[in-house]
């Protein structure tokens, strides 16, 4: 999977590119402070969501019109993510963004059987305002 360098001001472009792949689920991985929530904000903006997107870490899951934002960091087992109502979110045709998806890589990758899952990996790059980011449709 090829990574590309993105500057801070290119985040809208990235959000558009990811959304153009028509994802049902966007699985995000990347270290603390890399910009997972920031990218989620940009995606939400493209979806014309007016609510303020804030970190879901504390309560695990926040829902917005058309978007469910999940943080897997504090979950110990994938069943907890399911218990947030994952099936319902999928049925609602909401876009689902899962941060720290690498914690449950196997289970989330398996969701590709019935959903279009885009896997986004964010890494710090050399320059402060840049990130090395890869994104791919893991079903194709």
């Amino acid at each position: 999977m090829a990574s590309h360098l993105f500057k801070r001001n290119e985040i809208t472009k990235l959000a558009k590119k990811i959304l153009a792949m028509q994802p049902d689920i966007i699985a995000m991985e990347g270290p603390l402070g890399a910009g997972k929530t920031t990218l989620t904000k940009a995606i939400a903006k493209e979806l014309e969501i007016k609510d303020m997107i804030v970190s879901p870490t504390f309560i695990l899951h926040r829902d917005y019109p058309g978007l469910d934002h999940i943080d897997a960091w504090r979950a110990e087992d994938f069943s907890e993510i399911k218990n947030l109502g994952l099936a319902k979110m999928i049925a609602k045709k909401h876009l689902i963004i899962i941060e720290w998806a690498d914690k449950f890589e196997f289970e989330i990758r398996n969701l590709k059987l019935e959903n279009r899952v885009i896997w986004v990996k964010i890494e710090y790059a050399e320059k402060e305002n840049e990130r090395s980011i890869s994104y791919e449709d893991i079903g194709s």
């Binding site: 603390l32 402070g33 970190s55 870490t57 504390f58 309560i59 695990l60 504090r74 979950a75 947030l84």
Partner: protein
């Protein structure tokens, strides 16, 4: 009116008995040890721990109050905001208890509890000194909010975080430094030994006029700084950890204070009196900084008494007492958890 209050919104199992603003008992069972190895609250573990303890905690709260369960006039419970599966435990037990005792049920907003925690009777100041309107600052692991309190029961959020809560940012910084959990308290200890200005970390939103909090940029800068230092000498020295902790805490608090100052000065009509609540306010350095700010703007500031910074049920009981006076009771058949309930929203 004696109120039995229950609070399970996160990782403390709490019950208390209050009468008005007098606390008759306040029992807090912390689950810190259970969550330590995961470096944060694990919701499913929190739920199990609440389930296992809640009856004991409620019994202890009754016992400590020196009253009998039959003397209770109402049952109060936190309905939100918080972790859904943790809130559910408290709500279910409170509901059952209210039914069994045939007493009214009161649903309380957790943030309102923190805002009103300064109203607990104490030997530091007479609570009749507290005047409204006032500005409340709630800082905890899940919340960073400035709230305009027109009077008890009437609130408007004036600033809140756009990403992480202050306590969450402190916890994450502590994690980057390899400190234990809960991170905020560890970070405070190490920060006291460090030089805050040794390394250069940015002040969040330094040029912005927006009344809002943001910690994501500071978190990113911290990650990069640690990364650079590690490239130079693989492991951080104890002194480097202390200096980094001090630097992060300094900038995080400076941002909080700058936005609080800007809010206090935003309009001439803005009250200058501050009510402070939430677990991060247990940080002595932060309280000192807030006191200085309060003196600077010529206002007064109130902090909760010891034991009432972090989550507790006494503050829920106090808020419930005022709701009862206003006749705001909950229907036990309808009450549900509200994980994102804002203090300035009606219960839906």
């Amino acid at each position: 009116m004696k109120i039995l209050a229950v609070e399970t919104s996160c990782d403390e199992t709490c019950a208390a008995v209050v009468e008005g603003t007098t606390i008759l008992s306040n029992v807090v069972h912390s689950q810190i040890d259970l969550h330590k190895e995961f470096g944060g609250v694990v919701p499913s573990i929190a739920r199990r721990a609440h389930e296992e303890r809640i009856n004991l905690i409620i019994d202890k709260a009754i016992q400590d109050s020196r009253f009998m369960i039959q003397d209770i006039d109402a049952v109060a419970v936190t309905a939100g905001p918080g972790l859904a599966i943790a809130l559910e435990v408290g709500i279910r037990h409170a509901k059952e208890l209210a039914k069994k005792l045939d007493k009214p049920l009161i649903a309380v907003n957790h943030i309102e509890g923190h805002v009103l925690s300064v109203l607990a009777e104490n030997d530091q100041y007479p609570i009749s000194n507290i005047q409204f309107p006032a500005l409340a600052l709630v800082v905890s692991g899940g919340h960073t909010e400035l709230i305009y309190v027109e009077k008890i029961g009437k609130y408007k959020i004036v600033a809140r975080t756009m990403d992480d809560a202050l306590g969450e940012a402190l916890d994450k910084a502590a994690r980057m430094l390899g400190l234990g959990y809960p991170g905020g308290a560890e970070l405070e200890k190490r920060a006291a030994l460090g030089d805050a200005k040794k390394y250069s970390l940015p002040l969040p939103m330094a040029r912005s006029k927006t009344l809002a909090f943001s910690y994501s940029g500071l978190k990113t800068a911290m990650f990069r700084l640690i990364d650079e230092l590690r490239i130079m000498n693989y492991e951080l020295s104890e002194q480097q950890v202390n200096d980094l902790a001090a630097g992060f805490q300094w900038r995080a608090f400076e941002h909080l204070l700058r936005i609080t100052r800007a809010t206090l000065n935003a309009q001439p009509t803005m009250p200058k009196n501050l009510l402070v609540g939430g677990g991060v306010a247990a940080n002595a350095k932060l309280r000192e900084d807030i006191k200085k700010l309060s003196d600077e703007v010529g206002g007064q500031v109130w902090f909760p008494k010891k034991g009432m910074y972090g989550d507790n049920a006494a503050m829920i009981g106090i808020a419930a007492g005022f709701k009862a006076q206003r006749g705001e009771f909950a229907d036990p058949e309808m009450i549900d958890r509200l994980p994102r309930w804002r203090i300035d929203e009606e219960m839906i």
